[in-house]
């Protein structure tokens, strides 16, 4: 049963991490969202044969994890879970692209290998940045930040409700799966037939619940818009946070730090 139950307790963990009080948690959510988006855009903009240039950017997710007191192993585990999908995308690059790109001593590194490493590096950087953003901000704060920055309400409200009811839906699914498992005595328990009707039932229950929630909202004066709570102004620290990180990212994008280090070290030796 753990396979069905564990993902939901896991989302709860991400949420409890967001409740911590560290300097990173105190930064305005809008600033954190903007910084993360800028970071991701820059990471993606690197060329496919330039994995070395990406390396220094790892400082951002690591710094956020250290200051924000987010367990490193937790984020790493999340990265591992999704990695097979990315691997399957990148896997054929070394086979299809055999053109030699650079020589390391007697070894020739092909362009395919470089682009493979670069895809994996981009994956690790962007996804860990996204995960740390949620872990140090919280989904509700991110939603109101997005709304505050002009993202259409329909989208942010959807996200908010998805996040609120994924637990309720999850628990309902878990209860159904448990009821099925307890009466199937280790057999397949009618296999697909049972599952398809369970999914249908879950949909019907969801529709019912949606109707009741809508009723509850109407009872409290809902008129098509969710007005979010007061949005506080930006402080100097928030602006410094944004300016500091984005100038660092820009510098690392414009100047290839590892290449420069290599040159300087080479000259010294």
């Amino acid at each position: 049963m753990r396979s069905v139950e564990s993902p939901f307790s896991d989302i709860g963990r991400l949420d409890s991490l967001a409740g911590k009080k560290t300097p990173i948690h105190g930064v305005d959510p809008r600033v954190k969202v903007l910084t993360t988006i800028y970071f991701m855009a820059l990471v993606v903009s690197f060329g496919k044969y330039d994995p070395a240039g990406l390396a220094p950017l790892i400082i951002y997710p690591i710094a956020v994890m250290v200051i924000g007191d987010i367990p490193f192993g937790y984020i790493a585990k999340k990265l591992l879970i999704a990695s097979p999908f990315v691997l399957s995308v990148a896997l054929f690059n070394p086979i299809l692209d055999q053109s030699p790109a650079l020589a390391v001593g007697p070894f020739i590194v092909t362009g395919g290998v470089l682009s493979f490493v670069s895809i994996m590096a981009k994956y690790v950087l962007t996804v860990s940045a996204g995960l740390t953003l949620i872990a140090c901000t919280g989904v509700d704060a991110i939603c109101s930040a997005l709304a505050g920055m002009g993202v259409p309400r329909a989208f942010t409200i959807q996200l908010l409700f998805l996040y609120r009811y994924i637990f309720v839906l999850g628990q309902e699914a878990v209860r159904m799966a448990r009821a099925r498992a307890l009466r199937s005595f280790g057999n397949k328990g009618m296999g697909m037939t049972a599952y398809s009707s369970m999914i249908g039932h879950l949909l019907l229950r969801t529709l019912d619940r949606a109707q009741r929630i809508h009723l509850a909202m109407l009872c409290r004066g809902f008129d098509g818009e969710i007005r979010s709570a007061e949005i506080s102004g930006l402080r100097l620290w928030d602006l410094l946070y944004l300016a500091g990180w984005s100038s660092l990212f820009t510098l690392l994008r414009l100047y290839n730090l590892p290449a420069w280090l290599g040159r300087e070290l080479g000259r010294l030796i």
Binding site: G12, D140, R164, F167, R209, I213, A216, G221, F222, D223
Partner: protein, 250 residues
């Protein structure tokens, strides 16, 4: 004019598939009364409650709240006057943070931010849930969820509280706390329930529904003692009014 008045006249309603739910219901509830709505499953309790805040529109007859008939134009006013507490708190708490959820109603009423904050904190304090304000609803216990969902309604300062099975799924202590809390409110209360012992504690009057009609309407103590009536309506005496199973005394 009293905001606290609820008057239902010859109310009839059938669901789209033709199932009749209400066949001419009549009653009048006045200021400050605490009324239990009892009846077997399928007697029409929930359908009746849905008429009290205008979610369902009467097919025949009328519902008046505080001398105002429920129409499309009066709906907003009626929904502010009639606070509805749902059976499943998960339906009522739909925002990711308790504070935001309680503030949802007052914000929609268009109140200034200071007033919204004041009302939200007051409502949370009234149900003893100030410490839960920053928690996500899915992490609350059953009793806490119930308290918060009552706060979401209190924040709108309703005159009439309508509750559907408020004590269902609560452990005995949470149930007792809820009953104590409700007894402190001086709102007009309409409580649909199967918890006959709670009726004994909270309600001076009881309305018995049977097959979509009012089978009896009177003092709760009289109705709860009328074995024949209770039996024919699929109900039982409150446990406290039944004999002791150990010593056999009545």
């Amino acid at each position: 004019m009293s905001h606290h008045l609820v008057e239902v006249r010859e109310l009839k309603f059938a669901y789209p598939d033709g199932t009749p739910a209400l066949n001419g219901v009549n009653f009048r509830i006045t200021h400050g009364e605490s009324v239990a709505l009892v009846g077997a499953n399928g007697a029409g309790k929930s359908t009746l409650l849905l008429h009290l805040n205008g979610y369902l529109v009467p097919q025949a007859g009328s519902v008046r709240i505080g001398d105002i008939p429920i129409t499309k134009n009066t709906l907003k006013h009626v929904r502010q006057v009639v606070g509805m507490v749902f059976q499943d708190p998960d339906d009522q708490l739909f925002l990711p943070r308790v504070y935001d959820d309680v503030a949802f109603g007052p914000t929609n009423l268009g109140l200034p931010p200071d007033e919204v904050k004041q009302r939200t904190l007051n409502a949370l304090a009234l149900v003893g849930a100030e410490h839960l304000r920053d928690r996500p609803p899915y992490k609350l216990s059953g009793g806490e969820k119930r308290a918060v969902s009552i706060a979401t309604v209190l924040a709108m300062s309703p005159s009439i509280l309508v509750m559907d099975e408020p004590t269902s799924n609560l452990d005995p202590r949470s149930r007792r706390q809820l009953i104590r809390l409700l007894s402190e409110f001086d709102h007009t209360k309409i409580i649909a329930t199967h918890d006959m012992d709670m009726v004994l504690d909270l309600c001076s009057r009881a309305i018995v529904l049977r097959n979509g009609e009012v089978a009896a309407d009177g003092a709760a103590r009289d109705i709860l003692g009328d074995l024949e009536l209770l039996d024919s309506s699929g109900l039982e005496k409150p446990l406290r009014m039944q004999g002791c199973p150990i010593c056999g005394n009545h």
